[in-house]
Subunit: 209 residues, 2 copies
DNA sequence: CATCTATAGATAGCATCACTGTCCACTTAT
DNA sequence: ATAAGTGGACAGTGATGCTATCTATAGATG
């Protein structure tokens, strides 16, 4: 197919397809002449995937390129793919490791070892979590630390379900795509459900319509 | 105190403080002359809060202004504050309500009524969730729908814990600040814990170090 | 075969966002 | 007296995610 059909099938404007191709989110079409190229189903799929990551998952173009590349790239193990997907998903930023930060770090490590989690110290989510907890403490909202236990427990249960589901897929390729898609979109799903549940619970407790 | 001290105490550069003041995230200092103003502890607190929402919670300047304003603004009820905080927290975007979308919407409403949640149809998280599910289906990852049940259940339990915690605070002001802070930062905390748990679970199942 | 539309690739332009820097006429501190 | 700090206005900056335009060509249609 030509680019117009690719655009029609995916709903992505042609200039944006060109942009994504330049940025490496989508591979270029197979050239058939100096100004002609053909696209196939793999392009359709890849483009849809790219759009989903960017629009729904909220990934930056750079992050989306990273996860898309590693998903279909050289044969990494599932665990390696997860690690790199998580790395790509987490915005990096430099931090100042003051006293409050180190205390929060110790608390995170306590939770992790308490639950028997085996997690690399370089996992970027660890840093993000420590930052969030340190901020909470600096603001004097220490009481929220009490619900970290339930939060961690819930996360653990959900992770078990997710992995079980992924393993049901026969092919490695399907597992990897599922991993990438769900790592990115699952966050949105979980966040939304949490907000809905909060409103429901707040209505139950405070509300009196 | 003068602006230099405000900057020192919060770690926010002076030009940024001026910018935040212009944008309404922080109230202006109390004027004592044509080019002099004084700041107090309320400014320190407000500025720290603003920074936390922007840097850790990832809110835009406009969203941060909204939640900060409603937090200390005219006396809204807890429920109203939650609603507006959620509204400010969710990026709005226009959507196309095609067949897949409507089907996803029905599924979301089914989950909500199944759990007996009372949720306004206008809750922005509802739209976000529907979008995410529709995208998942368009990509052919329907099997993830199976874990929506556990996800919703987890969200419900967490929401109950959060509200219980908030209610322990005596003053309405504390409740509202906690609500805003935790609505924004809790998302980061939960997302991080989920990623950590995923790595731990993946290591347990796939790993063989 | 003429003509019209479509195309690839290159380059430039645009809008938004979150700052950051500069300037001025002033205080305030030493 | 002099140096440093200040509030406010406004301009500039760098990153990001597109869009628009241009050119030389290719395919589609009468």
């Amino acid at each position: 197919m030509r680019i117009a059909e690719l655009s029609r099938r995916t709903g992505v404007p042609i200039p944006t397809i060109k942009y994504y191709t330049r940025e490496g989110l989508v591979p270029p079409g197979e050239r058939t002449g100096p100004n002609q190229a053909r696209y196939d189903e793999t392009h359709v799929r890849r483009l849809k995937l790219a759009r989903a990551l960017v629009e729904v998952g909220g990934l930056s173009i750079a992050s989306a390129r990273e996860v898309l590349t590693l998903m279909s790239g050289p044969g990494l193990s599932t665990l390696e793919t997860l690690g790199k997907a998580q790395y790509a998903l987490t915005p990096r930023k430099e931090r100042t490791e003051d006293e409050t930060w180190r205390r929060a770090a110790a608390e995170v490590d306590a939770i992790v070892s308490e639950r028997g989690w085996q997690v690399r110290e370089s996992n970027p989510a660890r840093g993000t979590l420590i930052d969030a907890l340190a901020t909470l403490r600096r603001l004097g909202h220490d009481d929220f630390f009490e619900i970290l236990g339930p939060y961690a427990e819930a996360a653990e249960r959900l992770a078990a379900d997710e992995v079980k589901l992924l393993m049901r897929r026969g092919d490695l390729e399907g597992v990897l795509e599922g991993l990438v898609v769900w790592t990115a979109l699952g966050e949105t799903v979980l966040a939304s459900l949490r907000l809905l549940a909060e409103e429901a619970e707040a209505t139950r407790v405070f509300g009196a319509f």
